[in-house]
């Protein structure tokens, strides 16, 4: 259902306004002090440009750092439970990269795996993803190694590619995309064969390894303790990588209680933490960092592809940029894949 048209970059303001009038909240990369974060731009020129990737992913839009699941209050023997109503705000996520758009498929696979997650589904249903292709990349990007690419349409409702500094090629890919474009149809002009120019402007992201082959090879490395130990020696076991990652979805459930009232909430968790697999008995099946690192790699590149049919990593490189000790997942995975030669 892909239709291409041309959108003048100067028209962005009008389009965003139309979205606002239609009741859509717009989230886009915006510069705040020394950071680029996802926020509602007050004007189109507030949308950040000239950067490779935001430090944190946009997953908070569908999977926030914490969610209150229910509140409870005890009154003697009676317990009153209050659940939040789930009605996600219609949102347009504008200006994410193709890797970010692809990450929603992984989150969906996890959150709808057996019992569908009502919060996730509501937010996903209300979300329109308008991505922008990458014309630049850095040494941390490896989308092309995991089935993605700087101009990949996977997961986007509309993909914009900057053909030059005045015009975007707009590929409208889904019904949601059509609905978004239809808010201001006058802004879209016929593409007239310009779609052929898309490849020319895309960044060149070198392929470092081939994910499908790697997924086959990886399980045989499970017992190579020496390799996992060596790779993870400098890992400090923090949660920075998991928390900035667009596909990491592990969460903890906690009851925050004060005397007779409280809230049950879920919040982000990381497999890198020592506590992650600590049992109530005191036994910890992953009691050393090398085993936690091994798990991280295998979960993303073997378990998720095998069990859920999705990649566990979209190659956005955020983990590597955020890591205090430069663990560089892409580099480690490339080294592991080269061991098979």
């Amino acid at each position: 259902m892909s239709e291409s048209s041309i959108l003048q970059r100067a028209s962005l303001g009008a389009w965003l306004e139309a979205m606002g009038r239609a009741g859509q909240r717009v989230l886009a990369p915006v510069r705040e002090a020394d950071r680029v974060v996802f926020a509602t731009p007050s004007a189109p020129d507030q949308i950040a440009t000239g950067f490779v990737q935001t430090p944190a992913s946009a997953k908070a839009v569908v999977f926030p750092p914490y969610d209150e699941m229910l509140r409870f209050r005890a009154n003697g023997e009676d317990v009153h439970v209050e659940e939040p109503s789930i009605a996600a705000e219609p949102t347009v996520l504008f200006g994410v990269r193709p890797c970010d758009a692809a990450s929603f498929a992984t989150l969906r696979a996890v959150f709808t795996w057996d019992s569908p997650d009502a919060w996730f589904e509501a937010r996903m249903a209300s979300l329109t993803v308008i991505s922008v292709s990458c014309t630049q990349c850095d040494e941390y990007c490896f989308c092309t190694s995991v089935g993605g690419g700087p101009g990949s349409t996977q997961g986007s409702d509309i993909l914009l590619t900057p053909l030059d500094d005045r015009r975007w090629l707009a590929e409208v890919l889904t019904e949601k995309g059509q609905a978004a474009a239809a808010l201001a149809p006058q802004l879209f002009a016929p593409a007239n064969g310009e779609a052929a120019n898309k490849e020319k402007v895309l960044a060149h992201v070198p392929v470092r390894f081939e994910a499908k082959e790697f997924a086959q090879w990886l399980p045989s490395l499970f017992d190579r303790t020496d390799v996992w130990k060596e790779q993870s020696l400098r890992c400090l076991g923090c949660g920075a990588c998991a928390f900035v990652c667009p596909t990491c979805s592990c969460f903890d459930i906690q009851d925050e209680r004060v005397r007779d009232q409280g809230t049950r909430l879920r919040c982000w968790d990381s497999c890198g933490f020592r506590l992650f697999t600590l049992h109530a008995s005191g036994h910890n099946p992953r009691h050393v960092q090398s085993e936690r690192w091994r798990q991280r790699v295998m979960h993303k590149f073997s378990y998720q592809p095998e069990r859920l049919g999705v990649t566990g990593c979209v190659g956005c490189g955020r983990c590597s940029r955020a890591c205090p000790v430069d663990m560089n997942l892409g580099e480690h995975v490339r080294m592991l894949s080269e061991m098979s030669v």
Binding site: Y66, L236, G237, C238, A240, C267, P324, D326
Partner: protein
């Protein structure tokens, strides 16, 4: 750099240490990564530059590194201060760690706590002028502005605990946040929980922090949590003459007291 590599090689080949913990080139030109040199070849990768911000002493307490044997650790004054603070806290024994102190391209090998003390005694103590000025700037704002800044900054904390993991003095095997009987620090990253976590960390480091800045360098949200540590380090110095990591004889400021400690606010 050659000096450092030669020094490392001689320590390794001579058997004085089994590992030299230093830095190697990272993923990008401005990036460095901790490097564990265990052979002369490994030692050739050792480099040092301004981007080397992670305090390497943090690895000295890791079981994987302890298992390697005697270690040498590369760093500047804050790394050296960490060694002495570890000594005060009985975390490492004298003579089991070699410090390779780097300054202006020179490398000095310090093989005992006494040597580290002497080295540090000859150099300026505490915060740099720039850091001091920055701290004063923050402190000089109105209370309203301070709260506006800190409540906004701390709300952005995602509780990844990169600060804790990067900090060499945060070595508790079970952190206060990991207690749930009772749950002192809420697990989720709400505004209250974030405030409490960052205040707890600053307080638990008060009088122990060596101002290496690894916490702020590690923070993926670029929050200046090091300022919290700095203000308490300054206060501990002003009030108690406490300064972490300059002497093995200096006790932890909060486990001792003077009957005539002076304050101005107790009614």
């Amino acid at each position: 750099m050659e000096l450092l590599r030669d020094k490392a090689k001689s320590l390794l080949t001579g058997g004085a240490v089994q590992v030299v913990i230093g830095y190697a080139a990272g993923s990008a030109t401005d990036r460095f990564r901790p490097h564990f040199a265990r052979s002369a070849d490994d030692a050739d990768r050792l480099i040092f530059g301004e981007g080397c911000r992670q305090n390497l002493a943090v690895y000295l307490l890791k079981p994987e590194v302890r298992a390697m044997g005697k270690a040498a650790v590369v760093g500047g004054p804050t790394t050296l201060r960490t060694l002495l603070q570890y000594a005060v806290e009985n975390q490492i024994a004298d003579g089991l760690v070699v410090a390779l102190a780097l300054e202006d391209g020179r490398v000095e090998e310090l093989t005992s706590f006494a040597a580290v003390e002497e080295y540090l005694a000859q150099r300026p103590h505490g915060l740099s002028d720039g850091d001091r000025a920055e701290l004063e700037q923050h402190a000089a704002r109105s209370q309203k502005d301070r709260w506006a800044y800190w409540s906004a900054e701390l709300a952005r904390c995602i509780r990844c605990y990169a600060c804790r993991a990067a900090c060499p003095l945060c070595y508790c095997e079970q952190c206060i946040t990991e207690n749930n009987q009772p749950q002192w620090v809420p697990v989720a990253s709400d505004a209250f929980g974030n405030l409490e976590w960052n205040v707890v960390r600053a307080m638990h480091l008060a009088g122990r922090c060596v101002n290496c800045g690894s916490c702020a360098a590690a923070c993926p949200e670029n929050i200046r949590i090091d300022l919290l540590n700095q203000v308490l380090a300054q206060e501990a110095m002003t009030q108690f003459g406490a300064e972490a990591g300059y002497s093995v004889r200096k006790e932890y400021a909060l486990s001792v007291f003077k009957p005539d400690d002076k304050e101005t606010f107790i009614r």
